[in-house]
Symmetry: C2
């Protein structure tokens, strides 16, 4: 099954306590599609400028990612600069140069419009709605967003959340969007809008997945070395959606496994800067870490 | 099997966004022993003043807690005042009146000295060492501490950590004690001191249990209503040690089940002020929530 992702392809300049990456490959669609490509066919929609090197496009294509939806227009590629302190859960944005992203008008190639799986990465919710109108009959649509859209376009965002199956956002964003400090209550409010599931990302504390009736809690993998958390959320979403597209199993059980695969992919991604770890990742490592998650979380039932 | 706990019995004045409890029953030994008493025999060592009402002693005795180690000396009972904001993970201490705690000299009654399970709740590490020297041949000793002792008596504390089997502390305390931001590295350093296991409490994010070779991650139960987090850590430790003493099973599997029972007890405790929830808790509710933890965390293995 094939997945379409709409989001950003970017240059990132990232500082962490462990080093610095300057003008490295980044962007939500890049992280998502690379991660998902380990499990399924992925097609990407994004925009870059004239300065975007062929080598990065070749990397995506070598991972069998369909880049026919990657627009190249006059101007410079979107550039994000950020810094992480020892608390690697939260980035401090130093600079955002939207550049060509200001003129981004997502246009799905005809071959993308029958996609069964669609991921709307964090972009303007009005653009997310435009994309939704271009796909014919997706089996599953998920979306992300960020604090900026929650405060600047809450109504447009609400409309998106009402029209997707799964919302995948950070803990702080769930609280901000609902104005509710208690996460379980915040989750119920978001689900009540119409989406069926909410996946709450909590950085090093893992993930909670809510439906109206169920909750699933997955820890993050305890890491001795976290070099760069950039892209962890999109890498998580890529593994999650990739596994779902691979199996087509949208039962609670299948979704829980997908959450673990997403967590596995995110745990690898933070081991190096940019997509460097993804570039040398092998599928048997993914399988092995899935088993480690099982060992990390399992306990025996009792009757006392 | 019987457990001895040495800690505080206190009056608490607690404010949360959901209400206020004034001069209510509190203290680490109170929370611990009440929680543990659902699983095993518990004997308590602590000190109170002349103002401590018989009704509270009767409550403990009604839960079959041995209070022959509860000293009553001239003066007023230890009194802690704190406030929680909407972020219920962290208390702000408003006032601490040590009162009789300043003269506390833990003295184990003869009948306590053959205890197989010993919990050194958060008190002066020098006193914790004195208690350790009074028990003959415990099967398992665990301890807690707090930021105040980490900064004021790091050497005395280190000696305690070297002489117990399990250290149970908060995430921030593990980082503070080691000066290491990465929690996995901090855990390795603490275990290297000589204790066999480290249990790291992370509030609403659950618990990690480390040995030199293994890690176990347990989520906290996602709660729609958290009224008062006071005592959650000691209630956790009480359920944990209580279950271990009940089964005598100190294998990795047994310890993981104990972590879940600890988490179950803590999840009930935060549902009401002081020990009010514990007072009306029934064992079948504990069993039922253990099953809910299983449902919350389980996922199927895969071969992809």
């Amino acid at each position: 099954m094939s997945i379409v992702v709409v989001g950003t392809v970017a240059f990132d300049t990232v500082e962490t306590p462990f080093g610095k990456g300057e003008n490295v490959l980044g962007g939500s669609a890049t992280y998502f599609s690379t991660s998902a490509s380990f499990f399924a066919d992925v097609s990407l929609v994004a925009v870059v400028g004239e300065d975007f090197p062929e080598e990065h496009v070749a990397f995506l294509q070598n991972r069998a990612i369909d880049t026919s939806g990657l627009q190249r227009i006059p101007g410079k590629t979107f550039h994000w600069s950020g810094r992480y302190g020892y608390d690697l859960n939260e980035a401090q944005t130093l600079d955002t140069q939207l550049n060509v992203l200001m003129d981004f008008k997502p246009e799905l190639p005809e071959s993308y419009r029958d996609a069964e799986y669609l991921f709307l990465a964090n972009i303007d919710p009005d653009l997310q709605m435009e994309v939704l109108q271009q796909v014919r009959k997706p089996k599953l649509v998920a979306c992300d967003t960020m604090n900026f859209w929650i405060s600047s376009k809450p109504e447009a965002l609400k409309k998106v959340l009402q029209n997707v199956d799964i919302v995948i956002i950070n803990e702080g964003e769930a609280r901000q969007f609902t104005g509710e400090a208690n996460l379980v209550k915040a989750a119920r409010q978001i689900i009540a809008l119409g989406c069926k599931r909410l996946v709450v990302k909590r950085g090093e504390y893992g993930v909670l997945m809510f439906t109206a009736e169920t909750v699933f809690a997955a820890p993050a993998f305890p890491m001795e070395e976290v070099f760069d958390p950039t892209g962890a959320g999109d890498t998580f979403a890529g593994g999650f959606m990739g596994y779902l597209a691979n199996t087509g199993d949208l039962s609670e059980e299948g979704l829980r496994q997908a959450i673990i695969f997403g967590s596995v992919m995110a745990s690898f991604n933070v081991e190096d800067f940019s997509l460097n770890r993804m570039k040398r990742l092998e599928f048997k490592e993914i399988q092995s870490r899935f088993s480690s998650f099982k060992a990390l979380t399992s306990f025996r039932d009792v009757s006392v």
